[in-house]
Amino acid sequence: MSASAGPAYLELLDVAKHFGGVQALDRVSLTVHKGSVHALVGENGAGKSTLGRIVAGVLGADGGRVILDGTDVTFRSPREALEHGVAAISQEPSVVPRLTVAENVFLGVEPTEGGFIRKRPLRNAYAKLAADAGFDLPGGMPAGRLRTSEQQKVEILRALSRDARLIVMDEPTAALGSHEARQLYTIIRGLAASGKTIILISHFLREVLELADTVTVLRDGRLVKTSPTAAETDASLVEAMLGRPLTATFPPRSLPPAGAPVLMRARDLRAAGVEGVGFDLRAGEILGLAGLVGAGRTELARAIFGAAKVESGEVVLLESVRLGRSPRRSLSAGLAMIPESRKDDGLIFGRSTIENATISRLDALTTFGVVRRRRERRAATAVLERCGVRGAGYSAPVAQLSGGNQQKVLLARTLLCEPRVVIADEPTRGVDVGAKRAIYDFLTSLAADGLGVILISSELEEVIGLSHRVLVMRRGRITSELEGEAITEAAILGASFAEGTG
């Protein structure tokens, strides 16, 4: 690991930025050393992404100085930043799916002759670049066929091909499974070892503690502290982020009563990505679904909910109602799902918080098809407040809420449906520490009320901390069932990677 005592590569002095009336960054000063991994942590809205964007030239600062390698710089665009050796890797990589990996890497700077791209020099340049970086990514493959983690490698190669010396990574592992995240860690360490400087913006404190040399904590746009990571712990960072200590990470589990009735039963269920899955879900139980990304967890959830086609087998709610036909029928039967991506599959961003909360239960709030506004507002406000949604008033577009509050709107929608079984797919993705705990409390309280909960999460500690029972999936099958004391990280990982079982 490179020493953080290397020469200063990037210095920020009193950098300020405001959006309208909000001070997003309030005179932040920090020094990033050459060849180090420097992490920025903080809650949503603390200003860490804003800071990253200013460094990468996406946003301009309102005040203060940015000093790169000893010279004052002001970037007016990401392109200008790139010319100075500063590149940004986003959470969701942008690749052109139809172009090959090599073409994506050299997009815009292809070797050309009379306007035509010269294929061979392109291939050679790619081969050299990939070898230097130590990536074995086939240059001729269409980028659209790559997984998210591999697409991120394309972005990293793109940055390296432009000779980037400072790389800003904003939540690079948020969309990755734990195995893929590990690969990215190795890459980041390799980049730092070869003298590149990395600014890592992350929600995952473990990742920060493991990877970063230095960590800067931001709160409400102000710098709380910058210190060597070795001097920090999970708890110390959370305390600095929140401004107060956080009590237990997970709420206490109440065990489901022995002999609790089975709420939902799946038998030999097959769908795209699901190869014959059977299980029972009991009342009051939180059933964790673990496994690598692509193991078939989300596919299973979508098939049960009726969002994806069930090919064969069956899943039955309360002994009698067949599920897996359509989301609408599932909802009216008593099964709700909090989808994996609140942006793509959950919320209608242009509409108000209230409308987003009530959309699944509008039929109960209308007379002759006309929505009873006052009744709707009352019903929505009650559940939104119960779920702790806070923000610009419930009539404002839901897009204006923070990630955590948006997720809570989906919880409120679920409550309004009065379900018997809830499937929560990655319910805490992209959500800050405080909101995470609120979501844990929510799921635990559902189980305590006698509902059945299926929890899908790529964060192992979440599955371990909340579930009464865990099913581990691999290649569309359940490979292991763990209960009580047997739910350990080693057991889950072992079953996730196990070859030849199931």
Binding site: V22, F305, F349, G369, Q400
Partner: protein, 330 residues
């Protein structure tokens, strides 16, 4: 318990969000400014413009366009586009004229609107079951229907000058205003209320705003889309019948197709987003009337009508451009 662990939001966020909401409201009313400006200028520069007769004439002439635009707004908001409305308008016009020649006026009206409704349902079913882009599907439908109109008329002008009963539909005066206008007002209000106050209206916004999220929330997205196309077809049918009744003649004309673009221009100039999920019926009314005022103004002020088209085209680009910019900011 929950509230204790939820993180404090910076106080500043609140005021910023409020100011953004405020900016949104101002932008949302933006079309009214050029409309009233133009209205004022025309009042000052042209004496005959502000006469009751001229203003009612404008409304009478625009009643068909306004009815189609009101329904088209629903289609656009639900994430579709209907380019067949011009052809349907023409088809319903000749169908109703054809039957009015030999049958009762009531039957002619019923068949004219019914034809539009059926074509609209066909549009919706083709688009949702085959999952075809609605732009292409309705364009294809427009050609088919335009051909059918020629089959009905054999290329002749259908003249109804002695069919006064059929003419009563649009030409009767009630409280000094023609029934074409009354019908238009009723239909526009009905569509406006459907969109703004009913569950179906909500689902239209949801289907156009984020179809997959709406489906997972239990909305019958395909059903809602079919509904919007059916209403659009029926509205185009009614518009064709009203115009036939107004002028007491009908003819199959390839020009009918351009009506679809006039309507679309009005909707978009009013500020309903072509991308779906946003908009309102009142906006389309203002947008259509704004374009009509430009035409009327050119006429009254004696300018070359050549420039009218150029102005309208530029206006359309400006409206779409503003929408795109505000989207990026939003």
């Amino acid at each position: 318990m929950t509230t204790r662990v939820v993180a404090e939001e910076p106080a500043g966020v609140w005021s910023s969000v409020r100011s953004r909401v405020h900016a949104r409201r101002i932008r949302s009313a933006a079309i009214l400014v050029p409309f009233f400006l133009l209205f004022g200028v025309l009042c000052l520069t042209s004496k005959p413009f502000s006469s009751r007769a001229n203003l009612l004439d404008i409304l009478d002439q625009q009643s068909a366009t306004l009815i189609i635009a009101a329904a088209g707004t629903l289609v656009l908001i639900a994430g579709g586009i209907d380019l067949s409305v011009g052809a349907v308008y023409g088809f319903s016009a000749v169908v109703s004229a054809h039957f009015a020649l030999h049958q009762s006026a009531g039957l002619a009206i019923f068949l004219g609107i019914g034809a539009g409704l059926l074509i609209g349902i066909a549009n919706g079913l083709v688009i949702t079951t085959l999952r075809i882009n609605s732009l292409i599907a309705t364009l294809g439908m427009a050609f088919i229907i335009n051909g059918c109109s020629n089959l009905v008329t054999n290329g002749n002008l259908l003249v109804l000058f002695n069919k006064t009963a059929f003419g009563e539909l649009a030409r009767t005066e009630f409280l000094g205003v023609k029934t074409s206008i009354w019908l238009m007002v009723a239909v526009v209000i009905a569509f406006g209320l459907l969109l703004a106050t009913t569950a179906a209206g909500r689902y239209m916004y949801a289907a156009g705003g984020n179809a997959e999220a709406a489906r997972l929330a239990g909305v019958r997205v395909a059903g809602i889309r079919v509904l919007t196309f059916a209403l659009s077809g029926a509205a185009a049918g009614l518009a064709g019948v009203i115009d036939t009744s107004r002028v007491l003649s009908a003819q199959a004309s390839p020009d009918d197709t351009t009506l679809a673009f006039t309507v679309l221009a009005g909707i978009v100039v009013g500020g309903t987003s072509i991308a779906g999920g946003e908009g309102a019926v009142w906006r389309s009314v203002v947008g259509v009337l704004f374009i009509a005022l430009i035409g009327n103004g050119y006429l009254l002020l004696g300018y070359d009508p050549l420039y009218e088209q150029i102005t309208e085209g530029a206006l359309l680009l400006l409206a779409v451009g503003l929408d795109a910019v505000s989207r990026r900011r939003g």
